[in-house]
């Protein structure tokens, strides 16, 4: 038993240390955005890599998720003679919840891993040390641009996912469930309030922050050669995905209270 407690003690200390280390890293990353020099060309490169690069998976995920939602909801709503509400169901689900979370998870899988492996490889080959030796702050040069571009691009990708998801739902509603397209879009549009859009577009700002900071954190803390790079990549994807879902719950609760008083 004492052995088990010892392990528990060590594990708790390690976790607390990791949380402290990550918090300090986030603080440094955010403060690096407000200190010169600013690497705008690097920000644009990352916007291209993260935003344009993730567009195909975000479009496909959004379209088919909207389609599946329409398929499932149309069948259920038809039992109550409420098939006309399919558009409302799809748009509310997509915009408030599914588009931000799924886009976050997709971008996390693609980019948090990319950041962790890229920065991790730079750490193990001493490129980060070389950068510091040449008088460049890796926080400003590598982490800052990734953070800024992930937050901005995830916001825009979520808007695209909202649009494509609603369109996917419309395609299913019209071509498979044989509903009226105008009815679908009218229902989808009328159901939406500014609070729904605000909810849906607040989340990607937080998710983008999580993806970039977790990816860069595990990348810059990589130890143990190529095996360490692999480990950092896996950890980055797992931690950022779990944090996105956890954060989604907290944000949903907070935003519902803020906008609806629930």
């Amino acid at each position: 038993m004492p052995f088990a407690f010892d392990n528990l003690d060590t594990l708790a200390k390690r976790m607390l240390f990791a949380v402290q280390d990550y918090s300090l890293f986030c603080w440094e990353a955010v403060s690096s955005l407000f200190r010169s020099p600013h690497y705008w060309p690097d920000v644009m490169t990352q916007c291209d890599l993260i935003g344009v690069g993730s567009l195909p998976i975000v479009v496909l995920t959004g379209f088919f998720t909207g389609g599946v939602l329409a398929l499932q909801s149309a069948a259920s709503l038809a039992q109550f003679g409420a098939q006309a509400y399919t558009g409302r169901f799809v748009s509310l689900s997509m915009i408030r919840e599914l588009a931000p979370v799924l886009t976050g998870l997709m971008v996390s899988g693609r980019n948090a891993s990319g950041m962790a492996s890229e920065l991790g490889s730079m750490v193990v080959t001493e490129q980060i040390d070389a950068m510091r030796a040449l008088g460049t702050d890796p926080m400003k040069k590598l982490v800052g641009p990734r953070l800024l571009s992930t937050v901005v691009m995830l916001f825009l990708l979520t808007i695209i996912s909202d649009t494509v998801g609603t369109a996917g739902g419309a395609a299913v509603a019209v071509f498979i469930s044989h509903q009226n397209g105008t009815q679908y879009f009218t229902s989808a549009y009328q159901a939406l309030g500014y609070d729904d859009i605000a909810q849906g577009l607040t989340k990607p700002l937080f998710f983008g922050f999580i993806i970039a900071t977790v990816g860069c954190y595990f990348g810059t803390k990589t130890t143990g050669g190529t095996q360490g790079v692999g480990r950092a990549t896996t950890q980055a994807v797992v931690v950022s995905s779990v944090l996105i879902i956890f954060c989604d719950f907290i944000l949903s609760r907070a935003l519902l209270w803020l906008y609806s008083g629930i």
């Binding site: 001493e126 490129q127 070389a130 030796a133 040449l134 008088g135």
Partner: protein
Amino acid sequence: MAEPTHAQSHSQSAAIGAETHPVVLFENVCLRFEGPPVLEDVSFQVASGETRILLGPAGVGKSVLLKLANGLLRPDCGRIFLFGEEITSMPEDELLKLRTRTGMVFQEGALFDSLTVRDNVGYQLMERHLPVDEIDQRVHEALRFVELEHTYAMLPASLSGGMRRRVAIARAIIDKPDLLLYDSPTGGLDPVTSTTIDELIIKERDVYQTPSLLVTHRLQDAFTMVSHRYDAAANQMVPLPHGQNNANTSFLVLHQGKLIFDGSTEALVSSKDPFIMEFLA
């Protein structure tokens, strides 16, 4: 305890003679990660115009010491001075500025693999937003120094190990640093390529006379450094007359985290320390 030698007094007198502070000064530095201490009570200095060769077996903490000298790591105790400024607890922003005065050659070159040779060598100049023409001209000069001008547009992945080290040397010297730090520049290279790298380091030492701290575990490279000079007319290194060594090049020996020797070539080869005798055998 480091052996008192005339090289130590030489470096001290060189510093006094120049009426300046040492370029690098370690005072009772210690460092520990996990397990036994990596460095214990390490004190030495690098004076202006001096080349110091840090010898020791692999894994003894030589690279760590070099990173401490450049502020890439911080000691647990003791004090480190770089260009007369204490860097032991200097904020990273100030350290970054100070590091632009040093050039560092890493063990495997540490070239940025996504940048071309031109961008790697001219990195520091690009960071300072110098005109493109000036950057190009200085990159060509630096690459000419290491005789790799033809690699200008190549990516590091298409270079051999030895070429990468030479590009790393070009990157380190392009901004005419006040101190050069070499981390096992010949490690893992074949003897012929190692000799080419040694020749470049000797050329740099004799042409620019930049103070430097060189880490290696290869005795052959170390003794080549002290027994050769650069002949500008022949554009190659030539041996010094028999029994003569470069007066500005001296040795440090690290063993089990402690500096056990600090002195000249003559003092090193005549040392009675059992470890040094075995190491040199």
